[in-house]
């Protein structure tokens, strides 16, 4: 009886332990689920604010447009319907506020009671019109034609070059500038950090005495413990003004500032991983090299570095991954201009910074909110891919050794 009870207890405990160990897997699956469910919404809705519509004259053959085309129309970059496959009629822009240009206050009546009729009349009488107004002004006699807006496709989302999710009349959701901004800052950071990190890793693993190493290594690892918001603050008050003075810029918040801050943050990751790889070089190989008359330095760059190349690569890739996902520090020092970067001395904006800066203002469940989750998906996919890549690189390394 007693042993039976004990066995049951053991079983119960084991299943509790098993459940706990499933926590991380469940979390990863839930993260994927929620990101993609919320993010997918952006591709199923029309990119126009709820409760508003775009209408054209009934005789206008154009019935469907892309968000970017509509934006060009309202920016007056496209001024004739013939550019959009319609007739050769100049485009007349109309927003609700423009109504007084066409009708006097008496004609509109008290409290704009005649507003729906007048809009209807205007659209019916102006062949080239494109009107943006609230759908509560649409009544039964509406003679215009509602313009259909193409949904955002995944391709458009990735390839459009403008990110302006709160734009009127239609949101512009091209993440290309954000992806470019993220890659620029991260690659810049690695270019700065890699040589420095390698030098430090070589020193720690091959040159430094044990005592020096035991002293320096925890200090370097301490760099990884400093919160990113503190790095951001340090960057804001020290590095940003420094860059502004050094290059004589109007603003110091630039891609370069982001890269410098990220480089400092990536150092401990790259150093720790490459140093581990270098220390794994078999003693026999090093001794063989030294015995053949090679100097210590020749042994390092002809034997140790080639041997640990894949470990160093893994460290660098992981460093890039960290840099791509870093939010607060980048948000605080890069100036957050959503344009395709042209120079390291210009402001840029990254994907994580965009999410952090805009999610607070995006109404729950709206298009903007969903677009930010879609950005989260992109970020997740990139970092997931990078983790996999590191896995492959390190596995190849361990296979080589056996």
């Amino acid at each position: 009886m007693k042993t039976n009870f004990k066995q049951i207890k053991e079983k119960v405990i084991e299943s509790i332990l098993m459940l706990s160990s499933a926590a991380t897997s469940i979390t990863v699956i839930l993260i994927i689920f929620f990101l993609f469910i919320e993010g997918a919404g952006v591709f199923t809705k029309k990119p126009i604010e709820k409760g508003f519509l775009l209408a054209v004259n009934n005789s206008n053959p154009v019935s469907k447009l892309d968000p970017s085309q509509i934006k060009d129309i309202f920016d007056q970059k496209i001024t004739n319907w013939s550019d959009l496959g319609g007739k050769d009629v100049p485009i007349v822009l109309f927003r609700s506020g423009d109504i007084t240009d066409y009708y006097s206050e008496e004609e509109l009546g008290e409290n704009f009671a005649n507003f729906p009729d007048k809009i209807n009349e205007l659209i019916a009488n102006t062949p080239g019109i494109i009107a943006f107004f609230s759908d509560k002004y649409v009544n039964e006699e509406f003679k215009g034609k509602e313009l259909d807006i193409n949904k955002i496709t995944v391709y458009k989302f990735l390839s459009d070059e403008e990110w302006f999710p709160t734009a009127e009349p239609v949101a512009q959701m091209g993440v290309k500038p954000l992806i470019y901004g993220t890659l620029w800052v991260s690659l810049g950071a690695i270019l700065l950090a890699l040589p420095i990190a390698l030098a430090a890793a070589i020193y720690l693993s091959e040159i430094a005495k044990k005592r020096t190493r035991n002293l320096l290594k925890p200090l370097i690892e301490l760099l990884a413990g400093i919160p990113s918001v503190v790095y951001g603050f340090f960057g804001l008050v020290v590095i940003v003004p420094l860059i502004q003075d050094l290059f004589n810029l109007p603003v110091g918040e630039t891609a370069l500032a982001g890269s410098v801050v990220l480089a400092i943050m990536a150092l401990p990751t790259i150093i720790t991983i490459s140093e581990d790889a270098m220390r794994n070089t078999p003693r026999a190989m090093k001794e063989a090299s030294l015995a053949l008359g090679a100097s210590h330095w020749q042994t390092i760059y002809k034997v140790v570095i080639p041997y640990s190349a894949s470990g160093i690569t893994a460290g660098a890739i992981l460093g890039i991954g960290r840099a791509i996902g870093e939010t607060m520090a980048v948000l605080m020092v890069t100036g957050n201009a959503a344009v395709i970067p042209s120079s390291f001395l210009a402001p840029i904006r990254t994907i994580p910074a965009t999410i952090a800066a805009e999610l607070g203002e995006a109404p729950n469940g709206g298009l903007h909110y969903e677009a930010l989750f879609a950005l989260g998906c992109i970020l997740f996919i990139i970092t997931f891919g990078i983790n996999m890549l590191v896995e492959v690189v390190t596995n190849r390394n361990s296979q080589k050794k056996h």
Partner: protein
Amino acid sequence: MSTENNLAKKKRRSQKIAFGIFTATSYAIVGLLFVILAFIVINGIGVISWEFISAMPENGMTEGGIFPAIVGTLCLVLVSMVFAFPVGVLAAIYMNEYVKDGWPKKIIKQMTNNLAGVPSIVFGLFGMALFVNKLEFGDSILAGGLTLGLLVLPVIIRTTEESLKAVDDTFRQASLGLGASKWETTSKIVFPIAFPNIITGLILSIGRVSGETAPILFTVAAYFLPKLPTSIFDQAMALPYHLYVIATSGTNIEKSRAMAYGTALILIIIVLISNLLANALRKYYGKKVKMN
């Protein structure tokens, strides 16, 4: 003969230059750490006073203290650890003591690695979608604490696993040989030996949790809230978010600079203490175990 000498000289010289560069670089990195720390300490030390850590922010966060932010961060640490520490430790025990090598273990390991690689802002998005919206906790300490807990779960699992691995197998064999069950062996023999190292992981996670900003942006953090939270369903201020706010978008950025330095210093102190404590603990018990 002379060319050989030249070659040797050249060899020696290039080694000298290379090693010089490496040494200088390493010390420069450490120097950089001290520059960052010194910069914040020097600018922040004058701000720190009893009032600073015990009073409410005043005058658009340009004066007064950061008491609610400290309390908020403490609450977040508490909630996240109450959740993540037991789950992480139990998961690690299962991974190290129970499950045999094979594909289930590989998958769990891989998933834990993947979770560790997820950017913190994605945790923020996830926490908002699941805890704030789906489970309707709202912006609350509970939602933020759970999000942070998930973020540090891989850290706790990893450090616990390492601590358990360090326990010599003879302890397990002796216990099992005396007729103890698996759980008795784990809970009475293995766990107590590994415990100091597990606590090291806990301390490091506390340091990490108190400094994270992105996951709490949309799950708990309040811009300005001059009262203390009364339950885990309340919003709260938090140190890292407070620093972000007064450094970038406060009512008067220039005037609140001093407050920002002070807040940054408090954050640095928390991180330094948790790191030093963890290192000291590791060293102390490392020696003790060797003596046994």
